[in-house]
């Protein structure tokens, strides 16, 4: 698992762009839902974690399915 993560980090470096992209989407979407800054921020953090968590689950499922391939 660590070696595959290392390879992922080295070769698929565009994947890291997902983090700022998810952050901006979370922030802008939450800002369009609420008016108060602290509520926007809390909601954005939660949405960001949901997006990253979902992507993490998809990655884990694909990694398990491709085990020893």
């Amino acid at each position: 698992m660590p070696s595959s993560l290392f390879i992922l980090a080295q070769t698929v470096n565009v994947t890291w762009y997902l983090l700022p992209l998810a952050m901006i989407i979370s922030l802008v979407y939450s800002a369009s839902r609420f008016e108060l800054p602290d509520r926007i921020l809390r909601r954005a953090i939660w949405l960001f974690l949901q997006i990253i968590g979902f992507m993490g689950i998809v990655f884990a499922v694909l990694w398990v399915l491709s085990y020893k391939m």
Partner: protein, 294 residues
């Protein structure tokens, strides 16, 4: 402090003229909010949406914002550009750059005036195109009358693989069109003097921003950029698409306010008897079927 949802509050999205706010929000993400005094949200949209869009342009080396409908199709706006269009002013140059690129815009085989620019490229063998070193410096070219007509001559001063070098230039010359997609303009010219005599240099000089931004690339250029940048170019496109689509949410928020309210409202939970008391429920809708007399 929690507030009941039916309490009357000052709505900042109703401050100022709504049409002015709408136009500003359409042109520049977040500007409508700043006009309404919604500073925090204005900067979230400004830096979030505009930043994402410009980041995409940077990642795609400027070959990102364009409207290039396929020939023969009646649709004049591609979905690609429709998504970018939402980002506002930054996407509008694509509307007129297509006309500019078609007028008096040819590659050059001679310079018509003195040219001085930063140059980045490589030194190559003229007969095999094999790379002989990396060049970084300043190129100066001027038109001269030669034995067989006008020629382009000049010098390159800079570094060859980190070592200072000065090259005399002349002979076969090529310079990309003045108006084309991207912020670099391909240049090729032979080397006529010194130890590098008989070789050539190929590279690029900067293209002015307004001659490169929003210009539709031709197929060769698109193929070169997508081949060189790969997934990074696709990611650049996605960034601009998402930025354009996110600004639609921001425009809506500017005109109508946030979708869920301020965010500190406490909605009363319905009491159990309100749910079950038949007198407090809506009256049932009468069912009319074919046998019911009218």
């Amino acid at each position: 402090m929690p507030i009941a949802p039916d309490v009357e509050r000052k709505k900042p999205w109703e401050a100022g003229n709504v049409f002015v706010a709408l136009i500003l929000a359409v042109l520049v993400p977040g500007l409508g909010h700043l006009y309404q005094g919604r500073i925090v949200k204005g900067f979230i949209y400004l830096f979030g949406i505009l930043g994402l869009f410009l980041w995409g342009v940077k990642l795609g080396e400027g070959v990102v914002v364009y409207n290039l409908p396929e020939k023969g199709l009646t649709r004049k706006i591609t979905l690609h550009y429709a998504a970018q269009f939402g980002a506002g002013l930054v996407s509008y140059p694509a509307l007129w750059q297509k006309q500019r690129v078609a007028k008096n815009n040819n590659t050059m085989i001679e310079v018509d005036r003195t040219l001085s620019a930063n140059f980045k490229g490589i030194l190559i063998e003229s007969n095999s195109d094999a790379e002989a070193g990396k060049l970084d410096g300043v190129i100066k070219l001027k038109p001269e009358s030669g034995e067989y007509g006008p020629e382009t001559k000049g010098t390159f001063t800079g570094k060859l693989d980190g070592q200072p070098v000065k090259l005399e230039l002349g002979g076969k010359f090529f310079l990309d069109r003045p108006i084309a997609a991207g912020f670099r303009r391909t240049l090729k010219i032979g080397v006529t003097g010194g130890i590098e005599n008989g070789r050539a240099i190929i590279g690029s000089i900067p293209r002015p921003f307004f001659d490169g931004y929003g210009v539709p690339p031709d197929q060769d250029q698109l193929q070169e950029v997508t081949g060189r940048l790969g997934k990074q170019h696709e990611l650049a496109l996605v960034f601009t698409w998402i930025a354009g689509l996110l600004n639609i949410l921001a425009i809506w928020d500017c005109v109508q306010g946030p979708a869920y309210g301020f965010g500190d409202e406490v909605w009363p939970t319905p009491k159990p008897d309100e749910k079950t008391d038949p007198d407090k429920l809506d009256p049932p809708i009468p069912v009319i079927n074919a046998t019911t007399p009218v």
